[in-house]
């Protein structure tokens, strides 16, 4: 690993590419796959309105009203293996499509509206029915969420939804025009929402106000991959590798299906089965001070760094101008580390990774939006969050629960 300080100086001089091999760009790998099941991925600065985006992978989708007569192409939809279902920011939709998307009804016959919580906040908006087209694949008449729909303004947001903190109903705050949740589950909430009214999930919203409701599995916002006619057992996120200084952009492919075509073979990839409730596995990560068994680990393209507990004093926390930690790691020099992923069936896979000084990476490379060695603390003492840096230079398979593959039934990750 080349010296971080020297690299920072290079970046200041805007000569990052002169700073050792590989700096400044993503490497050229094999030619990208082609086929009707392949959608291009780009990691870049995001939609124009977005700010502070880093390590976010985007695809373009075509969203249609059921029947396919009214459609719109939507770019900069983030690819998220840590969530389930398609969501779009309402302001992105043109008026004809916005009006043509039918509202999903709760079992009461009233509009069904969803609160989607992320760790950093929440989005709020109605469930609507749409045809989703990406590459040559189609998911027809699936429930999606329209975020920030004017029919359900802020005044309708229930307290146990807004209690998640920050509202992110705009492109600027959400960092994307939409999100394509293609993780290991078929629905976003699953069986947990079918018989118990979960606070902060689904709501029945008559004009008199919204109240929590149960929802059937079919009413929930759906992982669209599971609804494709073919290539519906999962997907592969394939991204080019990134040099130690990062890169302005990284390209890649979102390939649908696992072992359904010649371009999506599992081959010798290691299969890591995950638990059926959380989609998680165990990471064994030993630091200088502790042997950690992180049972709630995930491979999440929607996380923009490698996040793990900071029990190791060498993994110094970055601080802002007032001395407060920012959450990212700022080791004095780039740390080369390794951990072992352990599936729920005890398959083991060793993974090497590096953590560089986040202040140097982010502060000195303002036109770079892809960093393979960005990491930070994880407030959970039992989780290693393998975010987008893990995906660079890899083909990561995501198999959906209950779907058959050559390696058995999902849910699993493989790479």
């Amino acid at each position: 690993m080349r010296n971080r300080t020297a690299c920072a100086i290079c970046a200041v001089l805007a000569l990052a590419s002169a700073c050792g091999g590989g700096g400044g760009g993503s490497s050229l790998g094999p030619p990208p796959p082609t086929g009707q099941n392949v959608a291009p991925i780009i990691v870049d600065s995001g939609p124009a309105a977005a700010v502070n985006v880093v390590n976010t992978a985007y695809v373009t989708v075509t969203l249609c009203a059921p029947g396919g007569m009214t459609c719109q192409t939507i770019d900069h939809v983030s690819v998220d293996t840590g969530s389930y279902g398609f969501r779009v920011i309402a302001s992105v939709l043109n008026s004809s499509l916005a009006q043509a998307l039918p509202q999903t009804q709760a079992s009461s016959g009233q509009p069904l509206v969803e609160c989607t919580k992320f760790a950093d906040g929440y989005v709020w908006g109605p469930v609507k029915t749409a045809d989703l087209k990406i590459s040559g694949e189609e998911a027809l008449s699936v429930p999606i969420q329209v975020i920030g729909d004017s029919a359900f303004p802020d005044s309708t947001v229930p307290s146990d939804c807004s209690s998640a903190g920050v509202q992110e109903n705009t492109v600027a705050l959400f960092g994307a025009n939409g999100i394509l949740g293609i993780g290991v589950f078929r629905e976003d909430c699953g069986s947990g929402c079918t018989t118990v009214v979960q606070p902060g999930w689904y709501y029945n919203c008559p004009a008199s106000g919204c109240a929590g409701t149960t929802v059937t599995l079919a009413q929930q916002v759906q992982n669209p991959v599971f609804h494709f006619t073919t290539d519906n057992n999962g997907a592969i996120v394939e991204l080019q590798s990134v040099g130690p200084a990062g890169a302005p952009t990284v390209s890649g492919s979102l390939v649908f299906g696992i072992d359904t075509q010649s371009n999506n073979t599992l081959g010798s990839a290691t299969v890591l089965m995950v638990d059926a409730n959380y989609g998680e596995f165990t990471t064994l990560f030993n630091t200088q001070t502790a042997n950690q068994t992180l049972t709630a680990s995930i491979i999440d393209s929607g996380s923009n760094g490698l996040f793990f507990p900071d029990s190791d004093s060498t993994m110094k926390a970055c601080t802002d101008s007032t001395g407060k930690p920012t959450g990212f790691y700022c080791p004095a020099s780039t740390q080369s580390l390794s951990a072992t992923m352990q599936s729920v069936t005890s398959v083991m896979k060793n993974v090497s990774f590096s953590i560089a000084n986040a202040d140097a990476l982010l502060g000195n490379n303002l036109t770079y939006f892809a960093f393979g060695n960005l990491g930070g603390s994880n407030p959970s003492a039992s989780s290693f969050d393998w975010g987008l840096p893990f995906f660079y230079g890899r083909n990561v398979f995501v198999a959906i629960e209950g779907q058959t593959t050559s390696a058995g039934m999902g849910p699993f990750f493989a790479f």
């Binding site: 502070n52 880093v54 390590n55 976010t56 840590g82 969530s83 389930y84 989607t116 919580k117 992320f118 760790a119 950093d120 906040g121 307290s159 146990d160 209690s163 998640a164 903190g165 920050v166 960092g175 949740g181 993780g183 976003d188 069986s191 947990g192 118990v196 979960q198 606070p199 902060g200 638990d275 059926a276 409730n277 959380y278 989609g279 998680e280 165990t282 049972t295 709630a296 995930i298 999440d300 929607g302 996380s303 923009n304 900071d310 970055c318 802002d320 407060k324 930690p325 920012t326 959450g327 990212f328 986040a358 930070g376 994880n378 407030p379 959970s380 039992s382 989780s383 969050d385 975010g387």
Partner: protein, 158 residues
């Protein structure tokens, strides 16, 4: 309710206990960060919840599981004040309840870094909140630095 996997149960077993408040009951004062331990008992009675309490030399931990299966833990100092709250489980708990008077600070604080949706950290002299996780699995820690009992390291609160 999502059942806990045996894997997760083992993870929980390593942890101390918590507390919790899950169902939003309008007009009811919930136990929350900075409140007294008496508010915990108010919750327990009104929510008909089974409260598990455990004690260390430095603090008492009150734990309750929400209807979603999420475990919330409140840490009470010897002075009887809730100085920290943690959560872990398939749904994010109602942070307005859990953080009480500190919720507004959390909600309006600018983000500390260029994070994606999987993390949010607020680090202030008067409040620290670290939230992380993904759909169906959320984790978090909130504490008031000035209220930490002597000898307690916030990072060790689980």
């Amino acid at each position: 309710m999502t059942p806990l996997s045996s894997q997760r149960v083992r993870a929980f077993a390593r942890l101390l206990a918590p507390i919790a408040l899950s169902v939003a009951l309008p007009g009811i004062t919930q136990a929350a960060l900075g409140d007294t331990v008496a508010s915990v008992e108010v919750d327990r009675v009104r929510m008909k919840a089974v409260l598990k309490t455990s004690q260390t030399a430095l603090y008492t931990v009150h734990e309750m599981q929400t209807p979603s299966g999420t475990t919330v833990r409140e840490f009470v100092s010897p002075a009887g004040v809730v100085f920290a709250v943690t959560w872990q489980g398939p749904s994010m708990p109602d942070l307005r309840q859990a953080l009480g008077a500190y919720f507004l600070i959390y909600q309006t604080a600018p983000p500390s870094g260029r994070f994606g949706h999987s993390h949010r950290a607020v680090e202030r002299p008067d409040l620290v909140v670290r939230s992380s996780g993904h759909m169906r699995s959320f984790f978090g820690l909130a504490y008031v630095p000035q209220l930490l009992p002597a000898g307690v390291a916030a990072d060790q609160l689980k």
